[in-house]
Structure formats: C-alpha cells, structure tokens
C-alpha cells in the first residue's frame, strides 16, 4: 500500500504542485484547505506524514501542529511545516510546537520530495502506531 500524505494548504497552485510532486513519487495524497478540516481528516485518514502550511484559514498551522503533537494517538505522525514565514522566530515557533522539519517557500519540489521520502523511510516498524479498531 502506498504511503499516505496529508497536505494542508490553502493556495491552490501550491496544492497542485505538491500533489503533482508527491504523486509522481508514488504517494497517496489527501488535501485539505483549512485547519479545522485538517484536524478532522488526520484522525479519519491516519496519514503517514503531514505537510502543513502556517497561514491557513481557521486554526493556524502552528496550532494544528501543536494539537496533533499533543494527541497521543496522532503524535507519531511526522509534520513538515511548509511556509513562506522565513523569519527565524517563526521557524523556532514551528519547532517549539513540535514540527519535525521546516521547509520555506519557495521550495524546490525535488528537495521536498527527498525530505518526505527520508521521513517515510525512517519510520521503522517499531514506531508507535495507533491500535487497530480505534476509528470512530
């Protein structure tokens, strides 16, 4: 089964680019456009990795990140923040909220794909996974 990646991003062209990049690498892609649906979808879809923009409608990326990382069932999912917020403080904030990596816009799609692959490969079988049958 292909690995599933959740993209949280409100800019359509960027979504298209990410989708295209990841699909051509053979990943399954789920896209949501705002923070609240991101939180809902994470529980439902149980993705293998999340690409998270900061400036999204509703709950912002930092909060989404924090909420996911504070949820014992979801905290194992790697989160890569993808954002145009290039200031060092923003980057710091992302890491403080538990982000696993930080890619600043404009990004090189090839590099992004490489990083995503790295995270997926790193996930050894021993990693905590949510117990089956927990889905509501």
């Amino acid at each position: 089964m292909a690995n599933k990646i959740l993209i949280v991003e409100d800019d359509l062209p960027t979504v298209e680019l990410l989708k295209f990049t990841l699909q051509s690498e053979g990943f399954d892609v789920v896209v949501v456009y705002d923070g609240i649906s991101a939180l809902r979808t994470v529980e439902k879809e149980n993705p293998d990795l999340i690409l998270l923009d900061v400036m999204i409608p509703g709950v912002d990326g930092f909060e989404v990140c924090q909420l996911i990382k504070h949820n014992i069932k979801l905290m194992h999912i790697p989160i890569i923040m993808v954002t145009a917020k290039v200031r060092k403080e923003d980057r710091q904030m992302g890491f403080e909220r538990g982000a696993d990596d930080y890619i600043s816009k404009p990004f090189d799609p090839i590099e992004l794909a490489t990083r995503v692959k790295k995270f997926i490969d790193q996930r050894t079988p021993g990693t905590v996974k949510p117990p089956e049958g927990e889905k509501r």
Partner: protein
Amino acid sequence: MEEFGVKRFQMLERFRWMIATRLTASVFVFIIYFFVKKFSVFNFPFVPFAACCFLEAFVNQPYSFITKRVKALDYLTYLHLVFDLILISLIIHFLGGIEFAFFSVAYPIIIVLAAIMLSRTACYTVAFLSSVAYASIVSLEFYKILPHVPLFGFALDGLHQFGIVAANILFFYFVAFLCGYSTDMIEERTEKLEQEKRFSENVIATIVDGLVILDESGRIKEANNAIERLSGFRRQELVGVNIADKILKKGTGDKFLKALKVLSEGSDLRDFEIFISSKDGNDIPMSINASLLKSPTEKPSIVAILRDTTKDKLMDKLKTEFVSNITHELLTPLTSINGFIVMILEGKAGEVTQKQKEFLEIVKKQARHLKGMIESMLDFSRMETGRLDLYPELLEVESVVAEAVSDMQPQIAEKEIKVSVVAGKATPKVLADRLRLQRAFGNIFGNAIKFTPRGRAIKIAIEEEKGFVKVSVCDEGIGLAKENLEKVFERFYQVDSALTRVIGGAGMGLAIAKEIVEKHDGRVWAESEGVGRGSTFIFTLPAA
C-alpha cells in the same frame, strides 16, 4: 492657592528681615546713646530711653513668633508699625522733644519700612501718623502740657517752630512719595519678571514630552509635569537624584551617560533610544534628544527631551508585520511558479525540447531573482524599523565567502568571470550571524559580478588586520568616481541609471550590506582608482 502660598512665603521672608533689622537697630541706638551720654555734654534721662529700647527689642521677639501663625499679616504689620511709631515718639520725647534735630531721620525709617513691607497707601498712612505724632509732641511740649526734657537747655520760639514743623511734615510726605513710587515700580517690575517666569514655567510644564534639566554628571535639576506623568514620580522625588538611578531603566543609565559625552564635543544627542522605568514598574520606550545649555555664570547643564515612543514601536511592529504578510503573499505564487518549472525541467511532465528547456531556465532564473528581491525588501523593512535582529555564532569568514561564491556560481559561469579567493593563514574567527553575513557578502560580491565585464577577474582576499578580519572584493569592472565612493552605500542609490537599467537592481544591496556589517561593529567602504579602472569593496569585522 499656589499664588497665595508664594506671596505669603515672600512676606515671611521680609518679616524675618524686618525683625532682624529692628533688633539690630534697637541695640545700635542703645549703644550710640550710651557713648553719647558718656562722652558728650548732652545730658538726657537714662531710664525711660533704655526702657523704650528694651521694649522695642522685647516686643520684636513674640512678633516673629506670631507672624508664622497669623493669616492677616498686613494688619499685624500695621499694628507693629504703629507700635514702632509710638515708641519712636517716646524716644524723641525723652531725647529733647522740640529740640531734637533728628525728627526727620527717625520717622522716615518707619515710612520706608511701610513701603518695603506693605504698600504705597501704607506709606502715606504712616507718613500721616508720623506727622500727627510729631506735631503732637511739639505742640504738647510747646504749650507745656507735656514736660520738656531739655537737651541743650533752650527752646526756640513758636513762630520759628511752625516753619520747622511744616518743613518736617512735608519731608515725611516727600519720603512717603519716593518710597511709595519706587515700591510700585519695583513691584511692577517684579510682577513682570514673575509673569515671564511663570510663562516659561507653564510652557515647560505644558510640553507633552518629558523635559529634564541635568547637570553634567546627570543629576536632575528640574523635571516637568510630563516626566511626573510618565515616570509616576513626583518632581520633588526626582530633583537632586541622578537620572541613571531613578528614571532610566536599571542597567541602561550608564549607556545614556556615556552617550551624553557627545554634548561636550559640541554636537547634540539625537534619537537616543532607551527605556524608562516608572514607579509602578512599567518599562516605557523613550527617545531622548539632548543639548547643552551654556550659561555665562553657571556650569553648563543638559536639556533633555524624552518622547514616549510606545506608539512608534507599535507602528513599527505593524509595519513589519505588514511587510512580512505582503512578503508571504508574494512568495506564495512564486512557490508554484518555481516548483512547476523545476518539475517540467526534470521531465516529470513529459518530454521537454531543448528550446523549451532554455526558456524555462530563464524563467527559473528570473523567479529566483524575484525571490531575492522580495527577501531584500523584507530585510530592508526590518532595517528601517531597526528590527534586524542578529543571531551571532562563531564562524570562519572563509566558509561564508565560499558558500556565497558557490551560490553565485551560475552567474559567474554565465559571465565567464574568474574568481579567486585568497585567505590569510589562520585568520581569526568572527562572531556573526551566518545568514546575514552571507547576505552582506553576497550583495557586495553580486554587485562586483554585475559590474564586471564578461571574462574578467574578481579577486577576493581575506586577511587579519589590527584585530579585525578584513575582506576585500576587487573587480575589474566599471570603477567609481571619487564622489560616488560613499554614495554607493546610500539607499536606492544608482551610480548610473542608464547602466543600471541594463543590469537591473533596486539599489538596496549595498545599503543592506552596510547596515549588516555595521550592526556587527564592522566598517565597509569602497576604493577605486576612478571610472573604468575597477573598484575594491572592503569590509571589516572585529575578530572574536
């Protein structure tokens, strides 16, 4: 209320003076009398005269005590002056009455006192009372109702007396007129001065910005209402205290005092940014302008205006946020533009012909250029608002240079420029923000590439010099005229707009580089033999 207080204070000052004068006068008169009696032919009674002197001195004492407690000082003064008048009349009586030649001296003293203590009207009243007292003594003695105390042992005849009495009374009024007139004049002048003083005090008090007057060591001599409002301290609490100890935030005072040194060099201190700590513990950002107030009589003092910059800071923050948001908005579309081009170039969207590839490379390059400009804009806005924060680390300048050079490789290759880097042996490390330093060097180096013709060379040298690490970028480009050597670092400056149109650029690069280097306590400058003879851009950073 305030005015009344001031007036009363002035009055009390005068009373103190008058009481002292009166006491001295009593003692003095007594001593003179004593000597005159001992060494001259005059023979007048001792007991009543001494009694008068002692009575005057005695009454004088409780008077000083009462003045502090009584509100109606004017009436009290009147009362005392009348008392003085009676005593003087008695003394005159015992000193020979009609024969006494000093009528004209004794009474005017009280008239003058009335002028000093009270008013013009009081002068005339006292003059009138003096005339009455004087006339009474003379007539009472003349008609033998009162026993005459002989001084020389003779009495002048009545007609003659009348002329003297009239002349004396006229003299009293003359003195009253002179004193009253001068009192009025002095009062008027004082009032005018007071008004002027009050006006300037009010101006200072009303100024919205805080104003403090310091002596050279920073001790507060004066502070206005705004300072009271801003700091929460009362004026009385501040005067005499060093500004570094009370108003300024702890630990920043020395910085300010040090900055004040420029004043003694003849220039003003402008826009000095500092925090003040208010009484209730809030820190308020302030901008201080200070200048030296020279005085021919006193030591120079420092006039400092403190402006609350809380709002400015807020505006700066909003501005920075605004620029940051705009930058975000600009970078977002660039992301997909750049990304898709990369994907197409990678062949992920099907075969790409050679021509398409060539064009796409141009688009990609332009996109990167655009990104660079947006980032410069962000840096630029941070510089403007002084929020270019540094994250310094110990680093080798060589590594920064090498990285920047490799970043610029596409441009270097395209123009076939030969770049050589010469690093001195064991150049010390510097404490600097890696990304910013890279940008500073990148801007200088990029500038050199821009203005160097195809196929020429750029030499980069890194060396140690007097505790600094010196980096020079020497190109064989168009060079600079002498008058432009400093101007190139100004914002938005373009040496030659026609040339720039070909080469492109917004004139921000070198200004940003300068700002960054100076933020690191370094220096940056340009050297050139002249137009067409290449130029060298040099910057230094303090060795760590």
